[in-house]
């Protein structure tokens, strides 16, 4: 059974709605550093952490590439596969910039994912607490933050 789990509660309802509307198989909501705030569809922590790290790295490298060609950033990235598509995009919220990685199958389309992603971003912006800026994660407490996130996401 696919599950939706969150580290920060305000992301839960927008994520559940996005998954229901877009029929996405896997979704990760994370910071640009790869810290996971919410996820849907992952059953193993190692898969989730890999996906988050790779997604954050892709966004960082494409952002650097964008700057080289004079763009502030690329809006979204789409990879089409034989059985799955990947949509990777950033958005600004009162809690800072977030990255959303969405993996979807043939039961939906990139067009539908794009349409509902716009609504998802609006819902995240509306739900994000404005009076509580996110703490920066320092190298010294990275491991404990990661363990806390995994414990929240996989109820360990």
């Amino acid at each position: 059974m696919s599950t939706t789990t969150v580290v920060e509660g305000w992301t839960e309802q927008p994520l559940i709605r996005f998954v229901g509307q877009s029929s996405a198989r896997l979704v990760v909501v994370m910071t640009p550093a790869g810290q996971v705030l919410a996820q849907h569809g992952f059953t193993r922590a190692v898969d989730l952490m890999s996906a988050a790290a790779l997604g954050a790295a892709i966004m960082a490298s494409s952002g650097a590439l964008a700057q080289q060609v004079g763009e502030a950033t690329f809006g979204a990235l789409y990879h089409a596969g034989q059985r799955h598509g990947i949509h990777l995009a950033g958005c600004e919220t009162p809690r800072g910039r977030l990255i959303v990685l969405t993996v979807f199958g043939k039961e939906t389309s990139i067009g539908l994912v794009q349409v509902f992603f716009e609504e998802f971003v609006a819902a995240l912006k509306a739900a994000a607490p404005v009076d509580e800026p996110r703490r920066p994660i320092l190298a010294a407490n990275f491991e404990s933050e990661l363990n806390n996130s995994l414990a929240s996401l996989f109820r360990r």
Partner: protein, 116 residues
């Protein structure tokens, strides 16, 4: 290519009541070419037209009805029409509820053939 498709869509837009027409990539649900009034959400129209056609095609396959060529979704305030060709290209039209569907269908089927 795009200019040619827009010229074809222009014929559809001349049918009274048409508020917008577009070529849509069936598999992706993305717009290929479009002629729309300002209040029509192109991205949503393309995505939902492709999704609707895919679901109707599933129903047609399940009932042994063969390939879907035309979909008409009548709503209170308007109508969504989709014509499907042999290949991965759809023609979608959003129009007023009172549109002459027969005439629109004729132009849309022509557009599908010419768009291949």
């Amino acid at each position: 290519m795009s200019d040619r498709l827009l010229r074809i869509l222009d014929r559809i837009s001349r049918v009274r009541g048409v508020r917008g027409s577009m070529y849509v990539a069936a598999e992706d649900g993305l717009a290929v070419a479009q002629l729309l009034m300002e209040d029509v959400n192109a991205r949503a129209l393309a995505a939902f037209a492709a999704s609707l056609t895919r679901k109707v095609s599933g129903a047609a396959a399940a009932t042994g009805s063969g390939r879907v060529r035309f979909v008409q979704m009548q709503a209170e305030q308007g109508v969504l029409l989709v014509a499907a060709g042999m290949h991965d290209l759809l023609v979608a039209v959003v129009a007023d509820a009172g549109i002459n569907v027969g005439l629109a269908r004729l132009e849309m089927m022509r557009a599908v053939e010419q768009g291949q």
